[in-house]
Amino acid sequence: MELTGPTGAPGHTGQPAYALTRLDKLLAWARRNSLWPLPYATACCGIELMATAASRFDIARFGAEAMRFTPRQCDLLVVAGRVTIKMMPVLQRIYTQMTEPKWVISMGACCSSGGEFDTYAVVQGIDQFMPVDVYVPGCPPCPETLLEGFMTIQRIINEGRARPSHQRGRGLRIRVEPRSPSQSSATEGGQEG
């Protein structure tokens, strides 16, 4: 952001009166510092999510303290805990109801891979059935790890210049396709951010 402008305008204190920037850059700046998380907490990861939101770790420092419990008001879905296949209709519906642009954090081992619950009812990673932007490792992840996840979302928003989430190739340029049979490992791909 480049500060410039006349200094002699009426009522002016000597500082530049306006700033010039690109609109998408400004939007990304606004969006990454005003995340509205939707806590989808189904297990012990939710406790760490609460700890992250509380005063000691305080996600308000990252502009993400306004948690709402309706998807209509949120743009960051934090899935924290086990997800059974019976819950997938609910989770997918919540995702589709969220406002664009939107991002998803898959928090913890269970949500990202099924964790130790390798049974008939538990989804072995929600990314099998819906988009995920950031995986936060841990069982459960400590608040610092989740904060790193939030900051990664901020970097994604910044890198992607806050494109609408239905465009492919947004965000960081590393794409992981765990379910594709032809690509079993992380591959470089995607378009220029």
Binding site: M88, T119, Y120, A121, H166
Partner: protein, 186 residues
Amino acid sequence: MSEPPADIATEKVVAGHPAVRALVESFDQQFDFAPGLLKAGENQVCVRVPPDRLLEVMTFLRHDARCRFEQLSDLAGVDYLQFPGATDRFAVVYGLVSLTHNHRLWVKCFVNDPDPKVPSVVAVWKGADWPEREVYDLFGIVFEGHPDLRRILTWEGFGAHPLRKDYPLRGLGERESYPVIGRDHA
């Protein structure tokens, strides 16, 4: 299922149980309800009832003045596949409590493949509604006469009964078969 060999003390406990005495007087000539103690519990008296007489016996236990089992404290299914010494495949186990007399009784009802069926006891204890649905869901035992026998824990499209011993832990593809939504999905 055969209960462990009963010693004299066990026989005394079992025979002294007021509900067992009432059952002997009323039903003993009609079938063998094999009274005994549960292996796991002290003084936990257990009787077995054939499925075709279950509703009659349960109604008796609920209303007879010597029994008065007002409360159905538990209703569970058991799969005895490959269980040592087992002769029947499934059991439905009822835990009864009498608040009037402060005594308890376990009732076991054994059923077998290919068509495990037990009469529903919802008419006797209304609280049997959801436990029977759960046993139906997880074991595939049908409760005849149940007012609303639907799955209760797994979802409606689930085709199997996952607590059967021959059902694989990781399922038969149920957890993989769900529609995928992408970023384009709105």
